[in-house]
């Protein structure tokens, strides 16, 4: 017998009206059983990959965590030590090169701050862009404009990096930053020197450009869930379109935008290639001002990997794995929180899968 499932009040959620059979196991033929087993295995591969990745990463990172203790998160100096020295250093039972200190605070700071600034720029821009697209721009232009958003999402990270290093960074440094420094110079972080274009602010701006498509796409889906009746009612009451947006639309999707922002932030956290090219790769120091060079976890792992392989004790690789572990934890936590919030506020709007690099 075949039965379709539906809710009590007849409001069928498309995602759940799967046709279920009540055939029992013994009624399945052999090919059915084989197919089911294969599909099971395929379905479990993503979960198994995540478990496998996390387990291997943590295993590789443990010696570095033991060696550095809590100093790993608070220490400001990250040094592989003197790899050509004949003495080794021992700490908490772990052997590392002489003078090796693994303190990841500047990287954690750089990762979080650059993503945060990117978010502060990207959220108003994407929400504004999407509102303009759906509310103000004439319908015949809407699909054309939305094509730009989709194209932005598909541009490879290294192309952004190249553009940033040779065009955008120098442009910002010669035209925008001096004005910014003179206008906002009384705030310490906006003070000169403005550098040559590679640094925290430039990287954050390009990061913002990269995460706008994610936030915009999610916001677009969210806006389509706003009941048209409420908007029409607001217009009938005499509200201007701006007031409609402010009073009806935005409160309805506020939590969803927050979740979209969190997803965009998760994307920005893991961004590697572009940051490697634009950040100035300054190790061991926090940036002096908002224009200064800095480093993130992802870019530093790439930058330091070659050097880490020359460490005979292997501790350098453990230290990089520890950095990766920290990033993994931050990113997974961010993703989970974002998805939790979005599910509670919208009832399952499909989300864009982040590209991750």
């Amino acid at each position: 017998m075949i039965r379709a499932e539906g809710g009590v009040d007849g409001n069928v959620d498309p995602a759940s009206s799967i046709v279920r059979t009540n055939l029992r196991d013994k009624d399945l033929t052999r090919p059915d059983r084989i197919a089911r087993a294969l599909f099971l295995v395929a379905a479990l591969v993503p979960a198994a990959m995540l478990i496998f990745l996390a387990v291997e990463m943590i295993r590789e990172a443990i010696p570095a965590f033991i060696y550095s203790g809590w100093g790993f998160f608070t220490g400001q100096i990250f040094s592989f030590g003197q790899l050509y020295a004949t003495t080794l250093s021992h700490h908490n039972g772990i052997t590392a090169p002489h003078g090796a200190v693994y303190g990841a605070f500047p990287f954690i700071f750089g990762t979080l701050v650059s993503s945060l600034i990117a978010l502060l720029i990207a959220v108003p821009v994407s929400v504004g862009a999407v509102l303009a697209l759906s509310e103000r721009i004439p319908r015949r232009f809407q699909s054309g404009m939305s094509v730009f958003l989709e194209v932005l999402a598909g541009i490879p990270s290294v192309a952004y990096g190249f553009w940033g290093v040779f065009f955008f960074g120098p442009f910002l440094a010669t035209h925008i930053y001096p004005t910014l420094a003179s206008v906002l110079g009384f705030i310490p972080i906006f003070h000169s020197p403005v550098g040559f274009g590679e640094g925290l602010l430039t990287t954050s701006v390009v990061l913002a450009v990269m995460i706008v498509p994610i936030i915009a796409a999610t916001t677009r889906s969210l806006l389509s869930t706003v009941p048209i009746l409420a908007k029409e009612g607001a217009l009938a009451l005499g509200m201007t379109p701006y007031e409609t947006v402010r009073v009806v639309t935005l409160p309805y999707v506020r939590r969803g935008i927050l979740a979209a922002a969190i997803l965009g932030w998760a994307r920005a956290l893991g961004e590697t290639m572009m940051v490697l090219m634009l950040s100035g790769n300054l190790l061991d120091r926090l940036p002096q001002n908002i224009y200064g060079g800095f480093s993130t976890i992802a870019a530093s792992i790439v930058d330091l990997l070659d050097s880490a392989l020359t460490d005979a004790t292997g501790m350098a690789v453990h230290a990089l794995a520890a950095l990766g572990c920290v990033l993994l934890v931050i990113t997974i936590a961010t993703n989970l929180i974002g998805r939790l919030i979005i599910r509670r506020s919208t009832g399952g709007v499909p989300l864009p899968i982040g590209r991750g690099i």
Partner: protein, 380 residues
């Protein structure tokens, strides 16, 4: 109606299968590979180093200082041995060392010898020099004369951020009579794991106590935080960055020094142990090599930095090509032995023209027997 649930046993089996497969795959890649080593029944004491019986491609990765020289040698090698093709690549000496250790490449070019820890952990890796090279200190100061004098201590202080401007009295004291402009010094260093960094930091360690106790020497060191410091990947990039930055100072491998001079960089004279300020030219490099070569041990791990002698340039080094002593096949081993033997021979690779093209000099003759003994250890 009871929904059709799969028995939990099946879920468990499926998950177990998948995780086991993945773990097995991981273990498989880290397991040692066994191979049968053929015992060579040879009545002669020297292993052959001629054209192998079948075509062999030798991959090389590493030093960007050695890279132009190997690019020069590769076609000549192929002309001498039709079955040997050498494929050089750059990437930094650190990469050359780690790739050779990990068996990702046949040969690893490096300006730095194996560290004591690396040699202990990998007794099967040989570092075999094929030439003697050096390093120049170049600067870009518009209006300054060429050939400014520098010594190790001043360079160490520049790279530690203690000396920040070209008109600093310490630089003026080394160059009496020269007025330098008020221009911030912008030191440039290598970002990749670099043999040139090893040479430069070895020189700084030999001449400056603070540097020796702090960053010390290495293909990768913890550079002191200097405000305007720039980074570059590879020797050619050092030239590009320094050329574009007035006030810069950089350490550049001798093989690309001609390009640096053509691009408008100025070369410095560096003070040696005897107190003379010298250029990195073939005569001063030979003097340093001869001064240090006789102390070379059988492992060929020998520094030629800051050697005594009136005419010894202070930043000179053996150019090493790393290799695993145990090769997987006899033909590859023969090809590698042929490469080394040909490369060090004055009628093969180490001709005066080849050496002069990259400002290298030949290995001192006292080292040659030790090099040949090392070549004999390459078996397959």
């Amino acid at each position: 109606m009871r929904p059709n649930r799969l028995p939990s046993r099946l879920w468990g089996v499926a998950l177990l299968t998948v995780v086991t497969m993945l773990l097995l795959a991981a273990c498989g890649t880290t397991a040692a590979t066994h191979h049968k080593t053929k015992k060579k029944k040879s009545t002669t004491t020297t292993l052959s180093a001629g054209n192998p019986s079948s075509p062999v491609t030798l991959t090389e990765a590493g030093s960007s200082l050695l890279y132009p020289y190997l690019q020069l040698l590769a076609p000549q090698l192929h002309a001498a041995f039709s079955n040997i093709t050498l494929e050089p690549a750059a990437g930094g000496s650190g990469l050359g060392i780690s790739d050779t250790i990990a068996k990702l490449t046949n040969l690893g070019g490096s300006d730095a010898y194996l560290s004591a820890a690396d040699a202990l952990a990998n007794p099967g890796v040989l570092n075999i020099p094929i030439a003697v090279s050096s390093q120049a200190i170049d600067y870009n100061v518009p209006g300054a004369p060429a050939f400014l004098n520098f010594n190790g201590k001043t360079l160490a202080e520049i790279y530690q951020g203690t000396i920040t401007n070209w008109d600093d009295p310490q630089i003026a004291a080394l160059n009496n009579g020269v007025t330098l402009p008020n221009l911030p010094i912008i030191p440039v260093r290598r970002a990749d794991s670099s043999g040139d960094t090893f040479l430069f930091t070895s020189f700084l360690s030999a001449t400056d106590k603070t540097w020796a106790n702090g960053p010390a020497e290495g293909t990768t060191v913890t550079w002191p935080a200097v405000a305007d410091e720039l980074t570059a990947v590879g020797n050619p990039a050092m030239i590009t960055v320094c050329k574009a930055t007035p006030g810069c100072i950089a350490y550049i491998g001798i093989s690309v020094e001609n390009t640096a001079i053509e691009d408008g960089l100025q070369e410095a004279l560096v003070e040696n142990k005897a107190g003379n300020f010298l250029k990195p030219i073939q005569s001063t490099m030979t003097a340093a090599a001869l001064a240090g070569a006789s102390a070379t041990p059988a492992s060929l791990t020998q520094s030629l930095i800051y050697e005594p002698g009136a005419q010894s340039y202070p930043i000179v080094n053996f150019e090493y090509v790393m290799v695993q002593a145990q090769q997987t096949s006899a033909t590859t081993a023969e090809a590698i032995r042929a490469f080394y033997t040909w490369a060090i021979s004055p009628t093969g690779g180490a001709t005066p023209n080849n050496l002069a093209a990259d400002n290298f000099v030949a290995l001192p003759s006292v080292v040659i027997p030790k090099v040949e003994a090392a070549i004999q250890k390459i078996v397959g």
